[in-house]
Amino acid sequence: MTVALSIVVDGIAYGMILFMISVGLSVTMGLMRIVNLAHGGFAMLGGACAHVLTMRYGVPFVPALAASVIAVIVIAIPLERLVYRHIYRFSELEQVLATIGIVFVMIATVNLFLGSTLLPIRMPPEVSIPINLGFKVLPLHRLIVIVVGLLMVTGLYLLVERTRFGIFLRAAVDNQNTAASLGIDTPKVYLAAFALGAGLAAVGGILGAELLPIEAYYPLRYMVLFLIVVTVGGMGSIVGSFIAALGLGILDTAGRYLLPDVGTIFFFLAIIALLALRPNGLLVRPS
């Protein structure tokens, strides 16, 4: 029983990280119909930035987090304007190749300045305080991750359901041409969604660095994982991504706990089964 609860709690913490990093990818992939393999790169850039700030300049964690997220958004905006805008028109295959190209350039850039070793982020010592949940002792960090993840999904939900931006976004997701004919400035909506997604990825990358350590090859190493979350969740679906991220987090954790030898096989077989049955994501029935 305690094992089961442990798996669930660890799996949820892990899933929250996956959710934070992947949700922006899901929205951009659903909205702009673009296969963006470079999305994990924003998580890495956020992490690398936080590494430099906390380790080299001794900036405290929270301001470093804020500064890094802003820095990533500042990088994402011209990237969208200059490069991604053209990639939207490409065929799926060309999108795959162009964004792999971007991944390579991101890796090489981080490597050029920071090398290929792990890039740890200094967190305040309080985050490792053990918290006793009764059935399990958990570092405070995990709880923070879970809380931030919950805040994020709530915030996104409200943003999409309750604000003008959300209405524009949904209109643009449903039908680009109609949205444009209603006078919605779709390129601006795209830019905002892209920047938001990059910012969220940066938050996830930094908070999740304990579980998915930051290093130059990060975007390539975890690319498949993030894409799987999006594919299983269904492109463009925030709720789908949330369920998929938590489900896959728990599944992966369970695999590691219970079947340490064949956990990965079990994980990927489950993915194969899911995708075979629901090719358009968990929440969408195959037509």
């Binding site: 992939m29 296969v35 490069v83 053209h86 490409f90 799926e92 295959l93 060309e94 795959v96 190749l97 162009a98 792999i100 190209g101 971007i102 991944v103 390579f104 350039v105 890796i107 090489a108 850039t109 490597n111 050029l112 290929s116 390539l220 498949v224 894409l227 799987i228 999006v230 594919t231 492109m235 030898d261 064949v262 990965t264 096989i265 990927f268 077989l269 993915i271 194969i272 995708l275 075979a276 090719p279 358009n280």
Partner: protein
């Protein structure tokens, strides 16, 4: 009798001298490379093996239009099959190639039954996931595959009982070249056949293919099996020539590289696959020997440049340049 009619078919399929030109160039290039770079035969042989692999992917992506990121599945299985066959059954190279081909075909058939129903992102993810499962199995089944240490101790008897594998790699080079050559001839015949035309039809419009009565799914499975067979042969070649198989044969990076090489050279043309492999591997070889990390800058920008400015690949470059000069006038 059968042999003669096959030769006839091949001859008519290859057509006039114009179509023999690339074949002649290929042979001349092989001899030139052999004489010019005697100390790089190992690298050249790797390149030939990779060409076999990339050309097999061209049938699937370039002709049938099926984009996967898991082509290493068949390559890896072919490599392990040939390696294990050499160790436990027979060290004959050609038998080993046949075993690699059969295993490649089987893996492609069973995974193809699932994959060829999927599209787009699901297809990419499924093909990655299947390769990951195979890689995990190979790394966990230590007793059979040697796990993370790889499978070693593969030795080969002379090809056809005559050509012994030598220390410098001359035999290996010509062995790999012969295999590539035969596969190119077979694929040339295949893509000019009604089946080849149907694959191009499927790439253009699957819905129209259904409306003319084609069981699109089974055609795609067939193409995938043929591509998988050749990928299995490429894997087997690599196992036999390097005498080693490691779990890296299933790497995602390998599947991605294959796609990159194909698009770089130009998909759907067979020779584009050769040019892409040649350029990619040469640039990597040179750039990596200067600075292994900046290689990623080179390949990253190269990819972006091709996708943005040369979507039909390097093979279209002469025509594009000619077009630009023509347009100026």
């Amino acid at each position: 009798m059968i042999l003669i009619s096959t030769i006839d078919i091949v001859r008519t399929s290859l057509g006039g001298t114009g179509k023999l030109l690339p074949v002649a160039i290929l042979i001349i290039c092989a001899f030139a490379a052999f004489w010019l770079f005697p100390y790089d035969l190992g690298f050249l042989t790797q390149m030939l093996i990779m060409m076999v692999f990339v050309v097999s992917f061209d049938l699937i992506l370039g002709y049938a239009g099926v984009a996967t990121l898991g082509h290493a599945a068949m390559y890896g299985c072919g490599a392990y099959a040939a390696g294990l066959f050499a160790i436990h059954a027979s060290p004959d190279p050609l038998l080993g190639l046949a075993v690699g081909a059969v295993i490649g075909a089987l893996i492609a058939f069973f995974s193809g039954l699932l994959l060829m129903r999927a599209h787009g992102l699901s297809l990419l993810m499924l093909s990655i996931a299947i390769t990951m499962v195979l890689q995990e199995i190979a790394s966990k089944a230590r007793d059979v595959t040697g796990g993370a240490d790889g499978l070693s101790g593969i030795s080969m008897t002379p090809i056809l009982g005559v050509f012994e594998f030598d220390f410098i790699g001359k035999t290996a080079f010509w062995y790999a070249f012969s295999v590539l050559f035969i596969i190119l001839v077979v694929l040339r015949v295949l893509v000019a056949s009604p089946f080849g035309l149907a694959l191009r039809g499927i790439k253009d419009s699957p819905s129209r293919m259904r409306a003319i009565g084609t069981p699109v799914y089974w055609r795609k499975v067939t193409a995938y099996v043929i591509g998988g067979t050749i990928a299995g042969i490429a894997g087997a070649l690599s196992a036999q020539i390097t005498s080693l198989v490691s779990v890296e044969a299933f790497n995602f990076a390998l599947s991605a590289d294959v796609m990159v090489m194909l698009i770089l050279g130009g998909a759907g043309r067979l020779y584009g696959a050769l040019i892409g492999t040649l350029v990619f591997m040469t640039v990597r070889h040179v750039a990596a020997s200067i600075d292994p990390f900046n290689w990623l800058f080179v390949i990253g920008f190269m990819l972006l440049a091709v996708v943005f400015f040369l979507p039909d690949g390097l093979i279209s470059l002469p025509r594009r340049v000619a077009g630009m000069i023509g347009a100026r006038k």
